[in-house]
Structure formats: C-alpha cells, structure tokens
Amino acid sequence: MYAPSFAAPTTVAEAVQLLANASGVAKVLAGGTDLLVQLRSGILKPDLIVDTKRIPELRTITSEGGGYRIGASVSGAEAGEHATLSRDWPGIVEAVELIGSTQIQGRASFVGNLCNASPAADSVPALIAAGATVVIAGPNGEREVPVEEVPTGPGSTSLAKGEMVVAVKLPPKPARTGDAYLRFIPRTEMDIAVVGAGVCVTLDEGGTCTAAKVSLGAVAPTVLVVPDAAAALIGSKLDDAALAALDAAARAACKPIDDKRGTIEYRTKVAGVLARRAAATAFKRAGA
C-alpha cells in the first residue's frame, strides 16, 4: 500500500537536509491546496512530505530595508491582514486574494502558487511585475533569483533536488510607483484565470512613466514577462498611443492554448484589454 513518510522540521537547515537526503520523490507541503488535490487524485505519489509550516521564519512577514520579506508558508489571508503590505503593494495582495475561496485563502501561499508552476497562477504575474525575488535554500547554501526564473513549464520549476524556497522578497518601493493585477474568469469567484495581467509602473514628478514591468498569466506555458509591453509605457503618460502600443505588445506575446475557458483568439484579445486596464490602475496608484 502507498504510505508516504511525513516530517515537520522546525528549521530550514533540517528541511533542506530531509529534502536532499530523501530517496524517491520528496515534496514540500505549504498550504496543501495544490499538493493535497494532486495527492488525492493519484497524480502525485511523493515518498516524503515535508511540512514547512513549523519553521518560524517561513511564517512571518518582515519589513526589510524598506521592502518586505514574506515567509514561504505565509497564507493569502495572512498577507491580506498585514498592516502595510496591501498599502505598499496593492497589486500583489489583490492577486493573492483572488486565489480560491475564504477556506483556500486560509492556507494557500504565494510560494505554493509559484512552485506549483501553473501558467494561470494568479499571484505570479503580480510578483513578477513588482520585481520580486525568491530566496532559495539548498544543500549548497542560499541563492536569490527573480520570480520569473522559477517556473520552467507547466508543473516544473528550476529548483534542484534538496532546494526549497524560504521567502519572497519585495524590493523597497520607489516613489510614485504603483502596481495592479487583473484576471479574467467567466464568473466572479472560484475559477482559473483565462488571462491574468500584472503591471507595475514608476512615474516622474510630471507623471511620465520612467520604469515599467508587465507580466501576463495563462497565455503561454509559463507566466510571461513582456518587455515590449513595458517599453510601450515608458516615456508616456498613458495616452491613447501608449495604450494601443501596450495592447499590441501584450497580444503579440501570447502563445495561448484553446480550451473550455477560452479560445486562442479570445485569450489573445483579452490579454490586450486586461493589460490596458491594469496599466490604468497602476498609473492611478502611482499618483498620476
């Protein structure tokens, strides 16, 4: 009979050692809202499950050098309740709060969303747009990489055996910076994104965009970074020409699939529309 082992270490070092020394498949358990569904359906049969929720540093959000360090097992509900995170990074918090229901929110983490590596993961475009990084611990110590370098395809990541994410880091927010995330689903709750769009912009004192990052979800095998869409915004005050260029760049980046939620043509069109709307909100939040 299938009988996985279970461990709930209290330090990162112990967790890494367990993951590195495991024979067979070892899986980290954060909120379990992806892992348990896969376990129960038999898609996944790990030999070892390592629950990381008893590691104190993985459960807290701390301010760090003007930015934030969000522990890898912090739930969406905890992120939403944090005193200043949603004031500083409203796009990131609105993205994580779109995940599932109240019950799912009670457990689902940013890092589980990222490491499950679904192209439709809602928090990922928002994290990428904001310039977030992840701290990864492994047998050879720690490394820090941009969020976009973690997923490599549907369900696969660049983490090596023995490695785990310990935190998401958000940079100090520059003055006049705003972020936003929008997703489209056919109903208002409890569905998977047809398209998701994350935008973050920084403006100068006159309201002209000096820096931007645009990321799209659910339109390719991994969440996309779209430099051409960012370029369309930089130097503009979000006039009609910039919006049209943004829309065109977002559509050009799409390599979506046809499925019951949307056709290729539909997803491509919606990607342009959502990018424009998310950009408008990001500009407003930046103070334009």
């Binding site: 009988a3 082992s5 709930a8 379990g32 348990l36 569904v37 376990l39 629950d51 019950q103």
Partner: protein, 159 residues
C-alpha cells in the same frame, strides 16, 4: 510506516488519535473520531462542506492532513451548539428554512460563524463573497444569506 500519534484539541477538548500520512483531517474526523457532522462533498477544496477552523482560521479539512493537527486547536460543527442550546446561526437557519437536504449546512454554519467573529456587521456582498467557497445545490443561497445577516443583526443587538 508506523502510524502517527497526534495530540490536538477538538472543540475545546484534548484529543489524541492515530493516522497515516495520507489521511486528511476530514478522514480523521469522520472515520477515526466519528465526528461525522463535517461532510465530504468534493474532496478537492471546491464545495466547503468539510469546513472547520484551525486556530480560528477557516479551512477545508479535505485539504489538510491529519498529521498537521498536532498541537493545534480544531473546531467542528459538533462544537457549535452549547449542549441543547443551539448557536444563534443554527437557530436562524431553522427559522429561515436555510437548508433542504442539509449536506452543505455544517460547512455553511462553520464558515458563517468564522465570518461573524471577524465581521459582526457584514454587508450582503461581503457575506456572499465570504461564503463563495460553500456550495449548495438546494436552497439557491438566498435564505442562507438572509439567515446569516439576520443573525448578525440579532447578535449585534444582544451585545
């Protein structure tokens, strides 16, 4: 592999149980502890019939392992009434006929109580969003929402 020995608190009482790694908290509640008020609708996190709170936080017990309960405080529907005295939400669900077949009811009650503990004065929209992860095939939701909002009003009046 040997079973895990778990010590936890359920509805205020210390409880110990044995479970395998792959048993969910829902399996443990129903099959090991015979607390069958918590229901299984989907086992994939979509329906909310298995709602419980863990340290006051609303979760789906079908998406939590039994082993994770170690040292935590779990509340289930069985802990809602005080002996024969129904919780105001339970009473109001009866008055409003906010249930038909009843399989979704324990989940709605546990989720609604968690809402009112955080927000004693929810708007209809807030209540509907909070309960969006609880599915009901019978009532059409309206009676449930009205029962929750009316309980909230009564409880505010009483305190």
């Amino acid at each position: 592999m040997a079973k895990h020995h778990i010590s936890t608190t359920i509805n205020g009482e210390p409880v110990e149980f044995l479970c395998n790694t792959e048993q969910t908290m829902l399996d443990v509640l129903r099959d090991e502890l015979h607390l069958t008020g918590t229901k299984e609708g989907c086992a994939t996190g979509d329906c909310g019939a298995c709602s419980i709170t863990v340290d006051g936080r609303l979760v789906c017990s079908c998406l939590m392992l039994g082993v994770e309960a170690e040292g935590h405080s779990v509340e289930t529907i069985e802990g809602m009434a005080d002996g024969d005295q129904l919780h105001p939400l339970q009473q109001k669900f009866l008055e409003y006929a906010a249930l038909q077949c009843g399989i979704c009811t324990p989940g709605f009650l546990v989720a609604s109580r968690a809402l009112l503990e955080r927000n004693p004065n929810p708007t209809e929209e807030e209540a509907r969003y909070w309960l969006a992860g609880n599915l009901c095939r019978c009532t059409g939701y309206d009676k449930i929402i009205r029962a929750v909002l009316d309980t909230a009003a009564d409880m505010r009046g009483a305190s």
